[in-house]
């Protein structure tokens, strides 16, 4: 009997995966009530204000621009090569590290400054065949 393959988030509390087509995914970050700084992954203390209890959970819509990228031909055990590893400048402010999906792993497919959007996608399969999923970014409109 074949077991049902599951989708397992790479980490809990990092992103929201839509449960219906009407919803959009978002990143779970934090925003400072005092200065407005947004952090992702969320931090319990605002790095700018350095005071307690100013951060509250913030849902980051996941629009941004490609800051820079690399096409990586090597991979850790369990991961597939090539992968695209990038910095994304989120509209909300923070620059974050992310995998890029939804396009060819080629220099031609990507351009610094291009619009990117959040997707929830597989990063690898575990030995049981379950999909380990995470936030990733893709060129907008692709």
């Amino acid at each position: 009997m074949e077991k049902t393959k599951k989708q397992i988030p790479v980490e809990e509390g990092l992103f929201y995966q839509p449960s219906s087509p009407d919803e959009e995914p978002y990143l779970i970050g934090a925003k400072c009530k005092d200065c407005g700084l947004v952090t992702f992954p969320k931090t319990p203390v605002c790095p700018k204000c350095a005071k307690r209890d100013t951060m509250e959970e913030a849902h980051i819509r996941g629009k941004g621009k490609l800051d820079t990228f690399s096409i990586v031909q090597a991979a850790l055990p369990g991961f597939k090569a090539p992968s695209i590893q990038a910095y994304i400048n989120l509209d909300e402010g923070p620059r974050i590290w992310s995998l890029v999906t939804g396009c060819d792993p080629s220099e031609e497919a990507l351009k610094i400054g291009m619009d990117m959007e959040l997707v929830i996608a597989k990063v690898r399969e575990d030995p049981e065949g379950n999909e380990i999923i995470s936030y990733q970014f893709k060129p907008s409109g692709k």
Binding site: V10, E11, L37, P41, P47, K48, T68, F69, S70, I71, V72, Q73, A74, A75, L76, P77, F79, S83, Q85, A86, Y87, N89, G93, P94, R95, I96, W97, L99, E107, I112, V123, R124, I132, S134
Partner: protein, 385 residues
Amino acid sequence: MRDVSIIGVGMTRFGKYVDRTPQDLGEEAVWNAIEDANVSVKDLKVAYVANAVGQQLTELKGTIGQHVLTSAGIFGIPVINVENACSGGSTALRGAFLDVASGNCDIALALGVEKLFCGDSARSAAAMASGTIYAKFGFMFVGLYALQLRKWMEKYGVTKEHFAKVVVKNSYNGSLNPNAQFQKPMSMEEVLNSRVIAEPLTQFMCSTMADGAAAAIVCSKDCASQYTSKPLIDIAACELVSGTFTFPDEPHEEITTRAAKRAYEKASIGPEDIDVAEVHDGMAPAELRLYEELGLCKEGEAAAMIDEGKTTLTGEIPVNPSGGLAAKGHPISATGLAQIAEVVWQLRGEAGPRQISNPKVGLTENAGGWSMDDNAACAVTILKR
């Protein structure tokens, strides 16, 4: 604070030693340093021992410093275990330096020891990535280095040929270093034609795993001549910083620049005074970036520096005379102290065929890890004869 000298250094050859243990490697480095310093075990009053991934890859699951030192015949003294990713060795040196500088004791030991080859390269690779929160996404340091290069290369016209020149230089230096894992000079063609790991980085531009250990013994300058007749090498500065948060729309000063500024200020020495440098070339392009970040040249001039051969053994300011991480291999926590050993040998005039001409001031730069959006740690140490 008292003046502090390094009176002994020692290391193993870096390499693949599947059958050797951290205890075995540590013993060799420590006793090489003890003999070099001409001290006895009872003279050592405190020890700092750096290790990064021993708990993941060896039988030792904690207090690795005590395990290693006890088997080397050193026990009963305070042993402080240090983990600071690739900067662990320099962090251990800082601890030993401060213990002596503060007057807490006269002689202290710093050791970095690492076992990366465990018979399963996949496990080793996973352990090396485990210092970041992004390992579970497939994050690789090589990708990070590569993506950080892109804008700098475009801005200053730096090409992969420049990176290959760094490898050619360092592989030649490594060929003169009996402690290097790789002792074969490489040509531009070999470097450029090796497998692409992450464009523009090819295989031979990337440092590789190694097992190994390196140690230094520091002593109050007042009593150093009781032990050694070799030239005393003073620690003019040993500065450690951690990374900073990157705020949107604000310039982000490189971690190396911040560490170097502190070290130059503390030592009252400027980059123009540096005669030799050992820098953390985890990937070849990092060496070029470091020329700029350490102030050895102005921003945008690193490519010209390598083109003009200014950092070769006979150049104006030789960089990585040991062969650097690329030729030596990179046993995480041992690397920083191997850099120190090389600069000490250079300043003493003991570097054999790779000896540079009469250096008086040397610098090491040892960065490591990745936390939030910056290196986790960076140490810059300035030594002078």
